[in-house]
Symmetry: C2
């Protein structure tokens, strides 16, 4: 029997380590108990280590979309202006979100697969001589395309203008370097089912001083569930403002320890290696990546264009039906046009070989002329030489 | 060795059935996969069955506080008026919440342990000849005191006035009869770690037609993560608007089936029996309940006053240290003054005997003169006769 047990190679949810799975089946725990406080006492500082910040990281029981809304609703009033840098589905979602909160939206859009450039941002910020732009939001790694923005460069430009920087690093954090304090980021958001290699249901929002000051002094109707003050007050006492998803937090406690054991630099290097292996592998099969330039490619997910004459959904179907491997579809205008290989979280070299070998076989089955083993071999060459790490 | 493994008898989180625990340790699942849609196809209609409604029930990855905020932010604008019936910590929290959203709050308060009466509500509503009150919020079962409001009577009065009724049935649902459609309730909220006998992290919001119409036609800036339209649109396609807590939903799928197998009437009757057993048991030991009148007592939780000369925290400490049983402290002004025995969710007669026997021993150890076995015996008499069920 072939192993067709479901295996996810999508950009989240990601595969789960056994230790992270096991704690989920524990008995009920009181969320105000001394036992649970001991867990929180580890989780909060460990989250700060991952975000590389001395500022508090709020833990929400909600998806990252909720945490992004928290960032907006706690720092902006209806009628104020947010600049949104869009480069795909998720960054565009934040524009819709801001509008639904009554926030004025100014949007700088690039084509899907492209990144937002510092030059274009600077032109927009320089034109804002009245300083009406109160905050700028952008993604680190655009999950829908696999494009990687230059967080440090964009943040520097925002800093010079004076607006708050809000970084959606949902699939960026852990995969790519992210230095909240060193880079002067004001608000940063991630989610549990991504680089944290655990189940979905939790999200994390690091809150810098300037963001907190704006929340405290300028914002008229901050949210309640997502409210900074209420959440931070509880977290300072090693608890949460409202009943949290206790079992997900127990899983987070385990995964954070695994992440810190590996080390942030090592995690970043591993994801970069996996990215380069996947890119070398699919190119060796004659396929193109949506993000052409390697420098702009996310270490979390790679969007691949199918060869002429073969539909992306057909490739996904063979991978799923014959091998149990799920790779992601495109989203919005890219739906059915690309497939996305996730290499984020609890993923190693062997998983890349697996998906590339199955992809080769799927392509052959669909009538595409491919040399079996060529993709795997190219990925192995990257892994052995590690030269591609300098890209 | 005495079994001191932690056992929760608090009003949520509640003990967990093995089947509900087991699914939590499953591998990662794609939240947009056909396999997961099959789960959602069962979960959504089963939630409607529990709320006894034909209207949609929105499933949020968030605590019930989040779902209450959803009810307010989707149906009320800043500057509009909400009438809050307060009878304890939780109902008072909703007043704070509304204020933080810019909603005008009118509050009718009773002492902790009392219920909100239809008469007082009617007087307030009759005085509102201009119909400035757009919605009224109240709790079904006040978790902090164990008081049970007359949902049907209060809803009828609100209906006559024309405002929306918002019912916090977080610890009411499943423990006490709750008929969303038959009673004409507009919005009803519950949470996963309560009568649903599962882990915390999910909440449920049933949305009636009048509430939906107000959301669609009158509300200027509804939330995004909690937005009715966005969530309902996704749910109509057997999915969720944003990445949900997949594993908690798998647990919910199991617990909903268990609940429906037991039957709603049988569940209600079981909780009523447990309530009457606990009340008879503690009274047989000479202790008083905070809610004096049985008719106003919640079938989910019973707040007990310690005997003169013994502190409530001392009783809780013996139960925890010697028997591993956690009963809840009082909250706010009742902190340290009462202890609360939860008998909600996956709880049966044998659990009541266990906690009463341990309570007797704890009282004796603390120097209170008690006849060992008297509380258990009184509870057994209730269980055997079942006469108390007519209360």
């Amino acid at each position: 029997m072939t192993n067709t047990y479901p295996f996810l190679m999508i950009p989240g949810p990601t595969p789960l380590p056994d230790a992270v799975r096991e704690v989920m089946s524990r008995p009920a725990v009181g969320h105000r108990s001394p036992e649970f406080k001991q867990i929180m006492k580890r989780v909060f500082p460990n989250l700060q280590r991952i975000f590389q910040t001395k500022h508090p990281v709020i833990l929400y029981t909600a998806s990252a979309t909720g945490a992004i809304e928290a960032a907006l609703s706690n720092t902006l009033n209806a009628g104020e202006t947010l600049l949104v840098l869009s480069c795909g589905v998720f960054s565009s979602r934040w524009a819709d979100m801001a509008k639904s909160l009554g926030i004025n939206v100014q949007e700088l859009k690039v084509e899907q697969g492209q990144v937002n450039t510092v030059e274009v941002l600077e032109t927009a910020l320089n034109a804002d001589t009245e300083k009406t732009i109160k905050a700028v939001i952008f993604v680190h790694s655009e999950t829908s395309t696999g494009a990687l923005n230059d967080v440090q460069g964009l943040t520097n430009a925002i800093r010079r203008h004076g607006a708050l920087s809000i970084v959606d690093t949902v699939t960026g954090l852990t995969a790519s370097p992210f230095k909240m304090d060193e880079w002067g980021i004001d608000l940063a958001i991630s989610g549990s089912q991504k680089g944290f290699m655990m189940q979905p249901g939790l999200s994390f929002l690091a809150v810098g001083e300037r963001a907190l000051a704006r929340h405290q002094n300028e914002v008229k109707y901050p949210a309640f569930y997502f409210n900074f003050t209420r959440n931070l007050k509880a977290q300072a006492e090693d608890t949460t403002a409202y009943t949290p998803a206790t079992h997900l937090i127990m899983a987070l406690d385990v995964s954070l320890q695994m992440m810190l054991d590996e080390g942030i630099d090592a995690m970043n290097a591993r994801h970069l290696l996996l990215r380069n292996m996947v890119r070398a592998g699919v190119r060796a099969l004659g396929l193109n990546t949506l993000v052409e330039d390697d420098v702009n490619a996310s270490p979390a997910v790679t969007a691949v264009l199918p060869p002429t004459g073969i539909e992306a959904p057909a490739i996904r179907k063979v991978l799923k039906d014959r091998f149990g491997i799920t790779v992601a579809d495109g989203q919005a205008s890219l739906k059915g046009k690309i497939f996305r290989i996730g290499h984020l979280g609890f993923v190693g070299e062997r998983d890349v070989y697996m998906v590339l070998a199955c992809l080769e076989q799927a392509l052959l089955e669909l009538g595409y002329s491919v040399e079996l083993g060529a993709g795997v071999k190219a990925a192995q060459a990257v892994a052995v030489s590690k030269t591609a790490l300098t890209v």
